[in-house]
Point group: C2
Chain length 328, copies 2
């Protein structure tokens, strides 16, 4: 009897694993070096007869978010959220008017805000992201995303994800990979929608965070978000975040900026088959064109290292048939 | 064609899901309140017709490790590891002899070590757990576990896991749960063996940690473990660690000491069906009998709260047919 179940289970598993071979999982990818690099890598690590075979539990792929999975121009979406939130909260906080950074944010004075640098941005994040429970914060994010529109595309931000990357995420999962987001963005900013939009569970999101504390409120246990940085998951922080959350070195990494340099290095310097890819924003018409001169998604050192490291550039303009999902 | 595959996939899935109903997954559990609490809960959350049905992605169960999944007497296994390591390393570090805490640890002078309190223990952990890569540390753990023996049972520590809890972990996973370890012990102390012993992946281990930094060594990327506490995953830290790693509130929690109190509170105060259980060490003959007076696995407040909170005590002596796996 047990044998019968095993046979049926295998049939079920085979049915699943055969689907990607029958239809074009990467339909939005043109034939070319980028697509071939993905398909060759997946074939090598999934073929049990290959010397490069990797068992499913070690098939870990990590993806940056801003500029790799969704649009990061003209500013990070989380910054747009923080600016909207501070405007919304300002009437209850007249004391913020005395703080030049917060006043600039409330007034939408981006020039003053930019000159305040990282410290100013941190101040903005703290007053808009702390002082509430994780559930309340995630509800704020969900509410804002439901009504906010991208200034150029006039669409919800969650519609401005890259269709070819959605296909890539699904294709990897169909082939036994576990897909993680490893982003400089806030872990709890991404969690409320990553499952619906990317198919990535809350436990598969790694990101920056502020400290959180446990307390009893009116006899009920609660978590409170504190205005205190816990972890910055960017640059050299990404391999640290990966080690902390995933506990295994990934075999594939996808990024688009120098903030992904160390994640790409860490991933592709391990033994056995490795894949490192960089989304290169070359398409001013359908999306944006930027790299070395941009402050959001600055791509300079990682591009210089790409050839020597064997990282494959994804040329948005020539490698992608479509950029955004059509039905959103 | 797609429909056929879907049907086959469903057959495969059904084959899997029917297996637990046919054999006794909880063979080492005697009939009684504890076993019934587990089975009733699983039935309620997995039956699609039940008003308490929970979709698989929200079926999260968290387990303490020391004293809940494996033996924690006469001392935490990680402390036995640290004591063995410091003896092994001492010849290369004559300077440690000048430090009374480290000298006591090297000499096995447990009385002096105990009076040094938490600060002393931390010092011991830092010199034995930091200054190496995570891979090197995990290799140390693996090597030690392969040769170390429990002083009373004369068996490897990984053989002194509780057979009924192994069955419970597997039973929950068969029923669509994801099982996590949430322990005050070191996250990287547990990861190297949690998969083989418990079926828990490295990404599903939440624990205490020291800081880690990314650096380039001879042109190769590396992680270095630093002698600096990063996170203490104990007591009120457990809900924080759960939130950080898993990003969802569990629906079932299993602990055995006051260090699990807040995890139990956090888990069982959520809406919908919840299960909280406490392993009560009542079996001096087959394992140990301890609760309110013990320093390792101190169980006092959590036991006082159990009845009011609806947490079910697992009486080791009367609820478990066997304690340890027979074949190890």
């Amino acid at each position: 009897m047990k044998r019968l179940y095993r046979v049926l289970a295998i049939i079920g598993a085979l049915a699943f694993s055969t689907i990607p071979a029958l239809c074009d999982s990467l339909a939005s990818w043109k034939d070319g070096a980028a697509r071939s690099a993905i398909e060759d890598f997946v074939r090598r690590v999934t073929d049990p007869a290959s010397k490069d075979f990797v068992p499913p539990e070690r098939r870990i792929a990590v993806f940056d978010n801003d500029g790799t999975l969704w649009v990061e121009q003209p500013m990070y979406t989380q910054l747009a959220f923080a600016l909207a939130r501070i405007k919304e909260l300002a009437p209850q906080h007249p004391e913020w008017q005395a703080n030049p950074v917060l006043k600039a944010a409330i007034d939408g004075d981006m020039k003053t805000l930019a000159t305040s640098g990282e410290k100013g941005l941190l101040e903005l994040v703290m007053v808009t992201h702390a002082g509430m429970t994780p559930d309340e914060f995630q509800a704020n994010v969900t509410d804002w995303l439901a009504k906010a529109e991208h200034p150029r595309f006039k669409k919800p931000y969650t519609a401005l994800v890259y269709q070819p990357m959605l296909e890539l995420l699904a294709y990897l999962r169909e082939n036994g990979f576990t897909t993680y987001i490893v982003s400089g963005g806030g872990i709890e900013f991404m969690r409320p929608w990553a499952k619906d939009v990317y198919g990535v569970l809350p436990s598969q999101v790694v990101g920056s965070s502020i400290k959180t504390k446990f307390e009893m409120v009116d006899g009920k246990p609660a978590l409170l978000r504190l205005p205190d940085v816990n972890f910055v998951d960017d640059g050299p922080g990404k391999p640290v975040g990966i080690n902390q959350h995933i506990g295994q070195r990934p075999i594939a990494a996808f990024g688009n900026s120098d903030g992904d340099l160390q994640m790409l290095q860490w991933t592709t310097s391990g033994e056995g088959p490795r894949l490192g890819m960089i989304v290169h924003h070359t398409d001013a018409e359908r999306e944006y064109a930027y790299d070395r001169a941009s402050s959001f998604g600055h791509l300079d050192k990682a591009m210089d290292r790409a050839q020597a490291e064997g990282w494959v550039l994804i040329d948005m303009k020539s490698d992608w048939k479509t950029v955004f999902p059509s039905a959103r």
